[in-house]
Symmetry: C5
Subunit: 348 residues, 5 copies
């Protein structure tokens, strides 16, 4: 539940990687660009991280488990020990931190694990200092390719804007992941509903609760991010240019939209749970009612059979030639009469 307890009792500022263990060194890539040129370099361990002063430098740091490399970078850029601790601690709550030289922002992005079709979170940290932006994460995906594509054209807005716009573009990219996950959750919920209407089973309940937990986890991840971007918009001290402002407001709107959709998903989930309970109990009731009706039809008939099975010496009907057949007919009449009565009462 709370791997953070690994850290309890250790002096603050100690860097302890919290997450699934890894051994390989971090993969670090530096993309330096300005209007005129675009340089992409791999940085081996030991090399300095800083790029050219007259270019915008985007450092993609993959593998925050490599505490050593994070420490080196933190030293080089003069980062507060608590912040390097936060980068490595991948269980952190989204937060923003500013001082004179640095802007630090950590958030969570999410994706759906193809195999288990469950939601996974990944912590992304951004460190802005001067015209350098470092993006820390654990796993590499095709993100680096996409960003290079968008930087390829000399006329792209990304190429011609400052580091503030670059931060926006990255934030936007990782926030947009939520929409994929929302869509996935929505369609999973719809599929679940259809299956349930066919035959409600106990495992549906489990899946309903899994979806509920995921919706909660998404809300816990996006809620502080919204706050952060909001405080960012309201108390910006000279970092953001006025024309980038509108873009950050747009990310903020996306967060609100995601929260609305989560609210909607949550309500649908609650309805789904109620529908499940209702369907399961409806099905049970139908079965029990039908069984009880069958029993109720036979009980009077068995009683009649019992009567004529009595051994009284004088029972006139027994001596009748057609007694047996009259009795059978009478039983059929009662049986059909009861069935008719139950049908009329719409009991089945």
């Amino acid at each position: 539940m709370n791997p953070l307890s690994k850290k309890a009792g250790i002096p603050p500022g100690s860097m302890v990687y919290i997450g699934p263990g890894r051994d390989s060194p971090a993969l670090v890539e530096r993309i330096s660009y300005n209007r005129d040129s675009l340089i992409v370099e791999q940085i081996s361990s030991g090399e300095p991280f800083s790029g050219k002063a007259d270019m915008i430098n985007l450092i993609l740091f993959h593998g925050v488990h490599d505490v050593q490399a994070v420490h080196g970078l933190a030293l080089e850029f003069g980062v507060h020990p608590l912040i390097s601790e936060d980068i490595v601690n991948t269980m952190h709550r989204p937060k923003v931190n500013r001082d004179d030289q640095h802007l630090f922002l950590t958030m969570k992005t999410c994706y759906t694990d193809k195999e288990t079709s469950s939601v996974r979170f990944e912590q992304i940290s951004f460190l802005v200092t001067g015209n350098t932006l470092v993006c820390f994460r654990e796993n590499a995906d095709d993100f680096s390719v996409k960003i290079r594509e968008r930087l390829a054209s000399k006329d792209s807005r990304l190429r011609n804007s400052g580091v503030d716009y670059l931060l926006y573009a990255l934030l936007d990219y990782f926030v947009d992941n939520y929409f994929h996950v929302l869509e996935q959750l929505g369609s999973e919920q719809d599929g679940l509903q259809e299956e349930m209407l066919d035959l409600p089973a106990a495992e549906h309940l489990e899946r309903i609760f899994k979806l509920r937990r995921e919706t909660s986890a998404l809300r816990q991840a996006i809620w502080p991010l919204r706050e952060i971007i909001n405080s960012f918009l309201n108390h910006d001290e000279g970092f953001m240019r006025s024309r980038t402002r509108a873009f950050f407001r747009d990310v903020h709107d996306h967060c609100l939209h995601i929260m609305d959709s989560l609210e909607m998903l949550r309500e649908m989930n609650t309805s789904l749970h109620e529908v499940y309970l209702s369907l399961a109990s409806h099905r049970l009731n139908t079965v029990m009612k039908l069984l009880t009706i069958i029993a109720t039809i036979f009980i009077p008939l068995t009683f009649i059979a019992g009567v004529y099975g009595m051994n009284f010496e004088y029972m006139p009907e027994l001596a009748w030639k057609a007694g047996y057949f009259i009795c059978l007919g009478f039983m059929a009449l009662i049986g059909l009469g009861l069935i008719g009565f139950f049908k009329y009462k719409r009991w089945f």
Copy 2:
């Protein structure tokens, strides 16, 4: 669930139409008016959108799927790329956006689909620049006719007020649609309740949840609109004339009224759900209780029949002449006694 994910990963400011696909070009109508004259024109694609500078120009833009045309208009009026993105993205959350030249407002109106009798939303965007108001929407209805009727008379307040009053008149028109939908939902809920009291069926539950989802969706649409109009009233920078102010406050009151009614609908819906559950369980209980009572009456009788069906050699009653009839009478007595007892206990 979230067609917005179509957009994820695409550079911001890209215009992607989100909604049911269409091919036809946009239909654009410009109504220019002042105290003296009223001109209605259809604008073909390629023509400039701007009207006369000394008149108030209302541009009704039907068909936001025509990304090209929206782009053209945006260019002509100098609109920020993010805003033209928002116009085209019909899944947007209601919002307001102001800069020096432009006032942009997007909201949702709603109507009930005649065929499926479910609630549909439509996004309406307003762009005010100078004395021109552009109203973007996807579908054309008789709105254009109504607005021209109200502009026909030279003495109408609409004809004699500024572009701020025009914006109010349009907002008021689209907010009023909510009242129609509320009435529809209310009468649907009342009808549902009556049907349910007759015979509660599983499909009623589904309809209860449909109504609940619709109530939620309406609340999600009207809630940010109320906020927007409120912020509009509190932080207006020279756009609104003081005598139009009262009218905007009136729309604000309508929003509050709608939210109150939605709250009421929601509570009624919850009650309806509880009534359904209670009725369904009451009905089942009545049936099961009656069936169990029938069984309980026959069980002792069958036991008696069983006793006299035993083959003991010495059973004095069997030899009695009237034994059989005494036995039958005794059984009838017990049966009627039990029925009387259950009646007395008010068990059925």
Copy 3:
């Protein structure tokens, strides 16, 4: 549900009466008073409404369905069209509206309908201009008599205070009506609980939900009123004299008290619902358990009878002289044993 939709699409400021239709003209009474004299006049349609400038004028306007008369008064006192619209629209949310010359306040009062014993609301609007207070409502009751009684004595506080105190006295009168209704609801709820404890029936559930809806409606009516009086106390611009202030604060406290009581009623209602469900299920369980116990007692007995009804050629017990009676005794033993066992287990 929402008669307001009658108004949707009509130009704003149009006066449309919303409520049960009436034909008769409005009844208007003017009570003018100062320290020295007290004049009560009926105002026929067409006569001016304004009273003497050196007296305080209370105009009681009964019958807001008479749109013509309201229009006339609005014109005479220079009232904004939106306000005259609000007076006539009796579905309005409580609100307050101030401009330089006028103070407009609309609220809801409530009473219990004697016949249906359900809560009815009536909209009361107040318009203060100069030293004239107009009180608009639909129905006349003994209110006019009561106010004249209080004005009769030359030494009454009402007679010696300004129009602000007059407004307070009227507000206080209409707010006090809520206490009557609260008491009525409370005693209805208590009666319901007693009936339910006797024998829970399906119609009790309906009455529980009726009470819940009424409690909600009362809250929706009193909540904005409290806000209004609060904003009134905080942002008064010269209308209220300092010694009247304490009285308005008193009305505010009454609103808070009403809201507390409503909260309490609501909680009692929820408990009542839970008690109903619990009682109904308890009753059903008692019945079913007893029936099942009866069946369970007879089932082994019937089995024994069945055994001795078998036709095996060699069954020694059958030949015993006392076999039948031993068998009956054994059955009685088993029956009583089971009853004793169930008693011991406290199953009934």
Copy 4:
């Protein structure tokens, strides 16, 4: 429910005692003290209430039903009519009221009625004017003795502080009563839980709801008091000395603590309700399951007995010498087999 409705329609400022009727005149005691001397006097009706100007005067007024005496005191101290109305109206919501000369504070204290073991509230009002503090309540208890004991010692803090500390000491005394009641409720709840675990009965449900109502009533009484003391701490205009401040903050903390405990009690109550429902249904299920199992064991046996009771002419088993015993053995086998199967399945 709402005895306040007695007051509806009566001119404001009228003093109407709301509470159980009494006839006896009020008992008024005045304790005047300073560093040097301590005087305790009974004040008969008609005598002036004011004490010595150079001493601190604590007037304990028991019996607010004596409207005449309250009126006399109000006149003597120049109290606003609305405040004397509030003193007499014992259903009032806790509130504070300040003007130039007076500080008026009304709160509720609570105690558990020994006989019915239910929570009772009593309204306590404090009026501070100059160095006189009047404490109004309906019933006398040993409070007066306790306060005199604490004043007895010349070195006690109470004796050496101002009227502000005196007010604190009284507030603290009456707030501390809540802790007694909380403890009582807590132990009642614990006892209830134990009884329930023994055998859940319908009357437990009633007691659960009684406790819930009492918890709500306590919250409604303490919540506004907390607000009052808070506003007192934040907007004090020269009444409180700085060293008394810490003591008032302490009472404020006690209110918070009480609210936390109430929240905890409420949650425990909800759990208790859920445990009750769960236990009651568990017990019913155990009984029904056992009964059904008994029936299910006998049904196949009865069938076999029925088979050998058939009258076919050729049934070979019937002629076997040991047929009957084989049959009985077979029945025993089936019966034991079923019991074993149900045990194995852990069905009972």
Copy 5:
């Protein structure tokens, strides 16, 4: 429930120890340090508590039940009586209190009791005055050892920072305990879920509610602490150095993280409760359905046996040679047919 009621009615400022009784005197240890030296001393009762003025003094006070010793320390450091009362009263709500010379902060830490595996809380109070920090608690654990280890190295941040950093380090230590407890609760909840899926039992419900109560208690303990640290960050009057500020913000973030995790735990607990109810009812339904199916299969068969047990004189089938075997075969057919039908309907 509320041992605080021990205190009700006693003059404020009286020190009454609230907690499990103890007799032994308090154990007091003083750790004085600066850059150059580190002195650890045991302080016997009667000795002065103050350390050297030019060193930072950490006084670890174990055993707040020793009211005498707390009183002595309070006198020596000039602490307000209400604060010494709060130190001793171990049921206090977390709070902060500042005056010119002192900073007082009380919080709750938590740990899991090894034996009962339930959550225990311990109150920790901090008193800062000059460069002395006193840490009051009831029980001694290995905390003192850990803090001395961290002080051992001359280069540790703790050794080289002020009393503000020392307070941070202690706060951080006690807040980190929450993570251990969270982890414990989380794994307990997971274990419970697994056990439940095996066979839901009544005692699981009890454990679910125990976990819920503990989650609530943790929230009640951490919530005010978060507020306190927040107010600390916002209204610090010269106590904190700017570089310590970031560390306090880090503790604040930990509190937020704990609250998020508690929220998550709470939701999981609710789900667990719903899963329990669902599983228990599912299991019962399966059993009852199967039993009813068994009964339903035998009822028609028993009826047939009854029919051929009738004693009519003329029943042709009885005379057939193979009658008995045809009848048995027919019964088997009906029985298998019903089983097939129920299987086909997926009823078991």
